[in-house]
Amino acid sequence: MNVHDLALVGVLSLSSMTPIALTAVGEVIAERSGVVNIGLEGILLISAWTSVYAGLYWGGWPAGYLMGLLTGLLLGLLHAAIAVYARGDQIIAGIGLNIAAAGGTTLATRAVWGNYAQSPRVPQAPPSITIMGQRVSIMVFAAVVIAFLAWWLLEKTRTGLRIKAVGDDPRAADALGISVEKTRLLATVLGGSLAGLAGAYMSIDYLGSFVKLMSAGRGFIALAAVAFSGWDPLGALLGSIIFGFGDALGRYYSITSGATANAYLYYTIPYILTLLAVAATAWRAKMPRALGQPYKRE
């Protein structure tokens, strides 16, 4: 690989990084409040579908992005209702969403577009710039800005302090009259909304259409990025860049090698990278203390 190709991989990884970064940053916020959402994969998939639908029939890419955001918000609300208010098992709720999303979007694709594989293309793409001949959406830059905003929210604002307090010691927060439920609801909805944006990015922005099971594990990679980050939005951004680079590297080799069997091997790079990164970073000590635990006042 020469310098030009390396730079090309770098540009490709910007696009690959974006959905993981948006999802992981959102999940950092949710997990800091004590709610884990492993249904991110499902949110990505459902919002990818709904945003294509809105993009095709309602108002192009702006309607698509709005729809993606709204879908993520509602699914975040659903998860919060189960995890925070009904005090259900957060892992089971997430698994349920993932399974429902996989089946539901495939079925909906068949119902609306007459085949199980994919939707038509959304005609107009969101604004972008071109670097080395590659399209780079403005959403890529938005994702970076959002990561910094999330950091600012958690570290510099009153709301952020409250989110961290309910995630680490809900009893102490409760003793100060901070509503554990409302704070967790807010954080979970924020996390869901960002995953919704990420889903929309994948379909209407990066690919231009919905493809069956197109999230391809990115929701889980985002969860890995959260653990890698030590529950910090900027760390999550860094993790996403690493995973995005692995993804881009896989695509680069699969194109240049030309051998189809090898191509599949190269596609495994980001997943193996995820495994290694998570294994190498034993940051459990930084995990929010009350993560995954429903709160009930004595």
Partner: protein, 492 residues
């Protein structure tokens, strides 16, 4: 007396499970005075204070602050009415810094964070405490956390400070610092509610005392100096009926439990110099909860850490839990959910409990049913079927199952913790009879209980545990309420 800052009138609190924690309590707090609220565990002290702080709502009754009737919907209302509460275990977020914890409080109090430094300086002047602002709370010792908790309340302008058993986790030097801070706050005209069951502290710091027993006020605004520790102890514990006559001149056999120089650590550190239980006697261990009972029992049964010294059960030094059961020990934990698998059947639970004593055996349904029949018949367990899940049994039957499973093994040493807590009168009497009967047949019993009636009724000797030490060993005749209350409260 000056005008009260806070007045509670006729406070009643009934919990959703029907327990009446408070039954018409009146209380007044005055500026610049320390009002001690004295009572045993479960007397309702903490419930009353949580109501004043706005954390829980009273079922009935009025709260009047500075002459105005208020309704406290949450702790935010409590804080904004100038009430600060320092819990026994400070409610600070451990992963945040001291500064962030203070900011959280200021947010709830509606105070501009920009005033933090200035207000904190003032609070430090009043209390004599200082706080490392940029340290994470979990890196600080418990005593310092409590100081942070007090400081942030005072800095936020609290005029009423509630201290819930504040000396529990403090070293003697830290206690002195706390007493000095209280004097400083008194000079500022801050009203202090001091919840405790420790009599010497009341004598030292309190200007006036209200005594609660079982959710009622038994003495209101009395002068601690005129009553003395004995008088307060009698009010706190109540008149205990004389114990029923015991067999005189019971012949005691060999020791079944000996403890020597034992140092153990759990929530608190425990040191037991000498303690012996002989065949044929019940040794009662009385004390307020959390004074080292759990640590003592854990060290005897073997699942706790023994740092120094030894425990000898039936001739074996420092047995593991497995050995403890194997050589003839039996154990009834204070929380039966620790011993019973609630979703498993009665027969399966019996098999578990028996396994600890006897080791592996084939668990055929026939054997399980036979075991169930023996135990259920002998100990009046009403279960319906051997295959009924334990959670479908009433609390009393669960307890009889647990007690029965242990006594069925014919143990030579029984360690029982609060064996009748939460049981009705008839079952209580039945279980106490079983325990006394076991001793009269020649086994030794260590009965750890926070229920003084139980201790007095069943024990042949009574050891009082206080702050991890045996404060004294008495015969039932010597054990007057005054004396027990004094020893339990750490008096002399």
């Amino acid at each position: 007396m000056p005008e009260p800052i806070v007045e509670l009138r006729g406070i009643v609190k009934v919990y959703p499970d029907g327990v009446k924690a408070l039954d018409g309590v009146d209380l007044r707090l005055y500026p610049g005075l320390v009002h001690a609220i004295l009572g045993e565990n479960g007397a309702g002290k903490t419930t009353l204070m949580r109501i004043l702080y706005g954390e829980i709502r009273p079922t009935r009754g009025e709260i009047i602050i500075r002459g105005r009737r208020v309704r406290l919907r949450s702790t935010v209302d409590g804080i904004r009415n100038g009430i600060a509460m320092v819990y026994q275990h400070p409610r600070l977020v451990p992963t945040l810094t001291v500064r962030e914890n203070i900011l959280l409080y200021f947010h709830s109090a509606g105070i501009d964070p920009g005033e933090l430094e200035e207000r904190l300086r003032r609070a430090q002047e009043i209390t004599g405490f200082s706080a490392p602002l940029d340290e994470r709370v979990e890196d600080l010792p418990v005593g310092v956390r409590q100081r942070v908790d007090i400081l942030r309340g005072i800095a936020a302008g609290a005029r009423v400070l509630i201290l819930d058993e504040p000396t529990t986790n403090l070293s003697p030097i830290e206690v002195e610092g706390l007493m000095n801070a209280i004097k400083g706050m008194k000079r500022e005209g801050i009203a202090i509610a001091y919840i405790t069951h420790r009599l010497p502290e009341v004598m030292e710091i309190a200007d006036t005392v209200t005594v609660l027993r079982k959710g009622r006020v038994v003495a209101s605004e009395v002068d601690p100096r005129s009553l003395g520790e004995e008088g307060l102890a009698r009010l706190m514990v109540g008149e205990v009926p004389p114990p029923p006559p015991k067999e005189r001149g019971k012949r005691l056999g060999e020791p079944v439990l000996r403890i020597h120089g034992l140092r153990a650590r759990g929530k608190i550190e425990v040191y037991i110099d000498e303690l012996v239980v002989r065949e044929g006697e019940v040794l009662g261990v009385a004390g307020v909860e959390g004074n080292g009972q759990d640590e003592l029992v854990a060290a005897i049964v073997g699942y706790g850490e023994r740092l120094e010294g030894w425990v000898e059960v039936l001739g074996r030094r420092n047995p593991s839990p497995r050995e403890f059961y194997k050589i003839g020990g039996a154990y009834i934990p204070g929380d039966r959910r620790k011993a019973l698998a609630l979703f498993f059947s009665v027969a399966e639970n019996l098999a578990f409990l028996r396994y600890a004593h006897e080791g592996p055996a084939l668990l055929t349904p026939g054997r399980l049913v036979a075991l169930y029949r023996e135990v259920a018949e002998e100990y009046n367990v009403v279960a319906g079927s051997p295959w009924a899940p334990v959670r479908s049994l009433s609390g009393g039957n669960q307890q009889k199952l647990l007690v029965g499973s242990q006594l069925h093994m014919k143990p030579r040493l029984l360690v029982a913790v609060n064996p009748t807590r939460g049981l009705d009168v008839a079952t209580t009497r039945y279980v106490r009879g079983l325990i006394a009967g076991l001793a009269s047949r020649g086994a030794g019993v260590l009965l750890v209980s926070t229920d003084l009636d139980e201790i007095l009724e069943v024990s042949d000797r009574i050891a009082v545990i206080s702050r991890g030490r045996i404060a004294g060993v008495l015969s039932p005749e010597e054990a007057t309420p005054e004396k027990l209350g004094l020893l339990m409260g750490g008096g002399r």
